[in-house]
């Protein structure tokens, strides 16, 4: 995995003029060391949790169950939906916003996928395009309300959560719509079931999608002007606006991305469960926020990284997995998850401040 680096432009170029005057800071090297530890905090955390998981994993016939390829693939499959949502959430949180509607949009997208294929008899491509469009439009609308009217995103997306759930229930008649495969009426194309399958029987398709989207977003966030604008708005919105950053447009785009990825996660969800239920995805928004926070992205906006989010999502997945392997009660798992979130946030507080 690429190391997360929120400050792509910052890397000190070799040919910059030497400092003219030493400044009153920590010595450069130590400062960089400390800074890098915190920047890659979630990566260290991921490695630590991984090693602990190996150590405490049950062993059967001399094989470490946690390390078996089947188990590892399952972990990534299990986090793929939350992971994809968390990627979108990272953009939103980087501009200092929050998107509470993603879980509900996932449910709406799952219902949409099932209904369009089963009831309307659409093919896979039109179905996927329509559902992604719905998610994107939903996100963009929320973004427009935030950007134009200036309501806090917490409130707008809280309302969006309710609305998306309501739409999903109306659309599905309140019931889960099962997806049967075949060529007949009321049946979805066989190919859709690929979403629950694996490539070569090893790599689960959702996991591949998650990794691909994660890497794509990571590159986007490290290289593009759009990403610089996202960081700038989160860092100081007023300064960004006065510097000519198209604040409204970026805001809308960021929420649209979040809606798009939530819809994609919904399609995957429908494919994995072979049904679309309007209640799918309840509480996913909180898991996604948790992944972003563990990844070291500041809820205040302006600093954080996509690599951190990916590591955070995987960390949560490993944690759930190892606790389940050891037959630890699901309720205890929740408590452990809570502790990890607080610990990650507390670590960020220890990060040396510059001003």
């Amino acid at each position: 995995m690429n190391p997360p680096n929120p400050t792509a432009v910052e890397e000190a170029p070799a040919e910059t003029p030497p400092p003219r005057r030493p400044s009153l800071r920590l010595p450069r090297d130590r400062h960089a060391l400390v800074d890098n530890f915190f920047r890659f905090q979630s990566l260290f955390g991921l490695v630590a949790v991984f090693l602990i998981a190996i150590a405490v994993s049950p062993v059967r016939n001399g094989e470490n169950i946690f390390l078996s390829s089947g188990n590892l693939a399952n972990i990534v499959r299990a986090v793929s939906e939350i992971g994809i949502i968390a990627v979108g959430m990272t953009f939103v949180i980087l501009i200092g916003g929050i998107d509470l509607s993603v879980g509900a949009v996932l449910g709406l997208a799952a219902v949409g996928s099932a209904t369009l294929m089963v009831d309307s008899g659409l093919g896979i491509l039109p179905t996927v395009l329509i559902v992604l469009l719905i998610g994107t439009a939903f996100g963009a609308t929320q973004g427009a309300i935030v950007a134009r009217i200036g309501i806090q995103s917490f409130i707008v997306t809280l309302a969006g959560l309710q609305a998306a759930r309501g739409i999903a229930r109306m659309w599905s008649g309140g019931l889960g719509i099962p997806i049967a495969y075949g060529d007949g009426p009321q049946e979805a194309p066989e190919a859709f079931s690929l979403l629950s399958g694996s490539i070569n029987g090893v790599l689960p398709v959702p996991a591949v999608l998650f990794i691909a989207i994660g890497i794509g977003a990571l590159l986007l966030l490290r290289t593009t002007a759009f990403a610089r604008h996202v960081y700038a708005i989160g860092g100081n919105e007023k300064a960004a606006r006065l510097s000519g950053v198209p604040v409204r447009r970026v805001r809308i785009a960021v929420f649209a991305i979040s809606g798009l990825l939530a819809a994609l996660a919904g399609i995957i969800h429908a494919g994995q469960l072979n049904q679309g239920s309007p209640n799918d995805g309840s509480g996913y928004e909180l898991d996604a926020i948790a992944a972003v926070v563990i990844g070291g992205t500041s809820l205040a906006g302006g600093s954080g990284s996509m690599g951190g989010t990916i590591a955070g999502a995987l960390l949560l997945g490993i944690l759930n997995n190892i606790l389940a392997l050891n037959n630890i009660d699901a309720n205890v798992q929740l408590v452990v998850k809570g502790l990890v979130i607080v610990a990650a946030a507390a670590l960020q507080k220890l990060r040396p401040r510059i001003s």
């Binding site: 432009v9 400044s23 800071r25 002007a225 100081n236 007023k238 000519g244």
Partner: protein
């Protein structure tokens, strides 16, 4: 004034890093006097005040209160010793009532431990009555006008048994009637034996209200005068010193074509924002290669005018004519302004100019990213080169382009803001207090930079509260009063007296 002073500060000095903010200052405050503290921005007034009010705890020299040496561990300590401060930005909670604000953090309790609301209101009402304010202590502070809020702050000081009251530009945000009222209150406090430290830039006020004036210059004591007998010129001379004009170069090119032309420009907001003075009849012209100054008192509407010209002002109906190169110019946002070649360096560089926690490099390129990308992808090599060039050309002192902007000194932060705006290759540069909080060396560098830019044909419109800065830098000074152009003074006749007179509205007979 031979009686024992309430407060005696002796040999006060303070360094911030490499900057000596003040040195060897003596100040006494006696009971029942209004002692004005004068000086330009950066003269050391706020440092001195922060030391006296316990905000700064490490300094040279001694402070005595009632003849006993004291050393405050914090503002609360100073308050206990009877020294209260009323800041320019009032420290009130808008959502709480007057009484709750007055007793915030030390609410009277009933025997059961709950807040004794009735006692609190009664005492608040008493203090308000002492001040001659007819206000219901139950009213929310957010619903009060600024002058009334000030009275609440004074009331709080009274409830603390303050014997020394420090007032930092108390009239800056007040309307005339409210100023009258405040002066009556101050006179009452003086009769009651309170010693008042009064900071203001308005000469006319000092003649009315101050008993003594201590003038600071460049962190040192420049002199103490009686403002009732000393002439304004004398005081300004003390504030400014003689050498200022020599510090900044002379000799400018002939200006070129008219670039910015503003005629009868006004903004009528649908809903006026308290504390904002929108343009209300502005006339000014800036030619290419010219530096035009914008003078006026606090609240004269300089910042609002610059913001509006940059497309970042308040909403409201625009009337009058604004043209750039003879073509109408009404930007609906900063992007539109930048697209027309207009750049803006805001007054509040920490709040509006920089992303403090982001690197210097990121800050420098933010406005010009579109010219440094291919298909939306930032060309890192180009960014590195551009940043290095800009930092060298403006002589920014930073350990590396990768350090956070917050680690730079004020002057270097300001240069980073300049670098960012100059990268957009503007033809008109709008500057709001470009040297505020900048040390004298960086100041001179910024002045040289402005001259250099003007020589390349850039048009510069510069708002400043520092008269010597305007005088020495500008080809012309436009004076605003309540959002209106009241005078346009060519360099030769832009004396400090003329500027101050116009800024005080002496030439403009108000009919309000």
């Amino acid at each position: 004034m031979t009686e024992r002073p309430l407060v005696r500060m002796t040999g006060i000095g303070k360094r911030f890093g490499g900057v000596q903010a003040c040195r060897d200052i003596d100040l006494t405050i006696t009971a029942g006097e209004v002692h004005a503290l004068l000086g330009e921005n950066g003269a050391g007034k706020s440092t001195l005040i922060n030391i006296l009010s316990g905000v700064i705890t490490a300094y040279d020299g001694t402070i005595e209160v009632d003849g006993r040496p004291v050393s405050f561990a914090g503002p609360v300590d100073a308050q206990r010793a009877g020294i209260a401060t009323i800041h320019q930005e009032l420290d009130l909670v808008a959502g709480l009532s007057i009484a709750e604000n007055m007793f915030l953090g030390r609410e009277p309790r009933t025997r059961l431990g709950s807040v004794d609301i009735r006692r609190m209101r009664r005492q608040a009402a008493e203090h308000l009555r002492t001040l001659g304010a007819d206000l219901d202590p139950r009213r929310l502070v957010g619903s009060l006008r600024v002058g009334e809020q000030q009275l609440v702050e004074i009331g709080r000081a009274l409830s603390l048994d303050a014997r020394v009251l420090i007032m930092d530009e108390p009239t800056a945000a007040l309307a005339d009637a409210e100023v009258e009222r405040l002066f009556e209150t101050i006179a009452g406090l003086r009769r009651a034996g309170v010693g008042i430290v009064y900071i203001s830039h308005r000469m006319a006020e000092l003649e009315v209200i101050a008993d003594r004036a201590t003038v600071l210059r460049n962190g040192r004591l420049a002199g103490t005068v009686d403002p009732k007998t000393a002439s304004r010129d004398e005081i300004i001379q003390l504030m400014v010193g003689r050498s200022v004009d020599a510090l900044f170069g002379e000799g400018r090119n002939e200006p070129g074509e008219v670039l910015l032309d503003v005629r009868g420009f006004a903004v009528t907001p649908r809903r006026p924002t308290p504390g904002r003075t929108e343009p209300a009849g502005v006339d000014l012209t800036v030619r290419s290669g010219e530096i035009v100054g914008l003078a006026g008192l606090m609240g004269a509407g300089r910042t609002e005018l610059l913001e509006t010209l940059f497309g970042a002002g308040g909403s409201g109906r625009r009337t009058g004519e604004v043209t750039i190169d003879g073509r109408p110019y009404h930007p609906h946002g900063p992007r539109a302004a930048l697209a027309r070649g207009v750049a803006f360096v805001p007054e509040d560089r920490r709040g509006a100019g920089l992303m403090l926690e982001h690197s210097v490099a990121e800050n420098v390129v933010l406005s010009a990213l579109s010219s440094l990308t291919t298909l939306g992808v930032v060309r890192r090599q180009a960014v590195r080169r551009t940043v290095a060039e800009q930092l060298t050309s403006l002589a920014v002192k930073a350990a590396s382009p990768a350090v956070a902007a917050a680690t730079l000194s004020g002057g270097n932060q300001q240069k980073v803001v300049f670098a960012k705006q100059l990268l957009t290759q503007p033809r008109l540069l709008l500057l709001d207090e470009p040297t505020r909080g900048v040390d004298i060396g960086a100041k001179a560098e910024i002045y040289r930079l402005l001259h250099r830019l003007a020589d390349t044909g850039m048009a510069i419109l510069l708002a400043s509260s520092e008269l010597p800065e305007l005088r020495s830098l500008c080809d012309r000074v436009v004076v605003l009063h309540r959002g209106r152009t009241v005078a346009t003074l060519p360099r030769a006749s832009a004396t400090q007296q003329a500027i101050l007179a116009a800024a005080n509205g002496d030439d403009a007979k108000e009919t309000r």
